[in-house]
Amino acid sequence: MLRHEQDPETAENPAIERVIAELRTPVPVRAEWRAGLARGLATLPPPSAAGPRFVRRWTFRPLTAIAAAVVCAVVGATIATVLLGSGRRSSSAEVLANLTSTMPLPGEHGGQSTVRFVLVAPYASRVSLVGDFNKWNPSAMPMRRSADGRAWLLDVPLPPGRHVYSFVVDGDLAPDPAAPRAGDDDFGVPSSVVLVAGAKT
């Protein structure tokens, strides 16, 4: 394939030209942001020729970063979940940072597939489930707190197929930490996917 390689600059195409023209449109610089940047620079000590050489290379290893993030998250979430008491009031950030979940588990019940959604959110005061199966209505499917007060549960019978969903935790949309992400986050906010196997519909 490499022998066909050519500089696409020469492969003119009206559609691509239009894209390029659109993308080259300057992005306005907001004055407040520019001022914030100047303030940020002013707080830094002046660089000098003898300064620390900490930017050595700019290559990036995304997989290492993901692995590190996941390890930190597991350790952090476990500690937070174990140490903090469940009766405490928490900020939205704390609530969301302490979400865990089990992958939704489809099971056959009376010929229908019932999916159990579980979210561990001990500090949340209200959790509901939204998705293409309930018209994305945050009040349609409130989840129920488990007996120990730590998890939120809901069983939902779903027809076979692919279902996109998310949790609403105290008014914030939160994708399921344990389920695959829907690849089509067209609206800039990720959702999760549950797959219900079954006969042809």
Binding site: T100, S101, V130, L153, D155, D184, V193, L195
Partner: protein, 218 residues
């Protein structure tokens, strides 16, 4: 804007905590145009209804369109973006049927459209269907393999590798659980730092060996 990092943690099992009767709730019937969220501007609503009518007229499902619109509204998307997304979805549903055949069910069409949306080609869908019909006949659903394909592509597995893996499992008549297992295992591998391509190849080979093993010792 409130933006918080959500930690990605998989708890091994909560079945002991869960117990039975976790507020079972009936799934609602498919969404109709009449149930589109109130905040959509009348002009936008009109376009969506027209698009839904067009889909129904050619025998394609329109409910996914309205559900997508509701998702956009909940996520605060402007009407213009919602319309662009819906047009793309309508096109992808049509493309999915062109690839999967007139007998494709709604779940297959939705799954096929999602795979196309994240980078599968119509040729990949056609190939999967041919393999599926050859291995299992028309009666069983291809939705599960298609969803697995879409999920692999969403995790940046190269399209050719993902399609070949799913195709090889379909050809051996792999059960739904195998596709679910594949996507879950690949997800875990990627999160653990493995290259997506290598993970898919190795996990698929493992599943194929299991299938062979089950056949030899029924």
């Amino acid at each position: 804007m409130t933006r918080v990092l959500t930690w990605c943690v998989i708890v091994v099992t909560l079945s002991s905590v869960v117990g039975r009767g976790a507020g079972a709730q009936a799934a609602e019937r498919p969404m109709t145009a009449a149930e589109l969220p109130a905040r959509l501007a009348p002009a936008t609503r009109q376009v969506i209804v027209h698009l839904g009518d067009s889909l129904r007229a050619v025998g394609l499902p329109d409910a996914p369109l309205y559900a997508k619109a509701a998702e956009g509204v909940l996520k605060g998307a402007p009407d213009a973006r919602i319309l662009v997304v819906l047009r793309a979805l309508a096109r992808e549903l049509g493309d999915a049927r062109a690839s999967l055949g007139a007998s494709a069910g709604e779940a297959e069409l939705v799954a096929g459209a999602s795979a196309l949306h994240v980078g599968a080609s119509p040729a990949m869908l056609r190939q999967l269907r041919e393999t599926h019909v050859g291995a299992a006949g028309e009666a069983t659903s291809l939705a599960t393999p298609l969803v697995a394909l879409a999920d692999l592509l969403a995790r940046r597995v190269p399209a050719g590798v993902a399609a070949a893996a799913i195709d090889s499992l379909v050809a051996r008549g792999a059960p739904s659980d195998d596709f679910a297992a594949l996507r879950a295992a690949v997800e875990r591998d990627i999160d653990a730092g493995r290259a997506p391509e290598a993970s898919v190849v190795q996990r698929t080979q493992g599943l194929l060996r299991n299938i062979e093993g089950r056949r030899r010792t029924p």
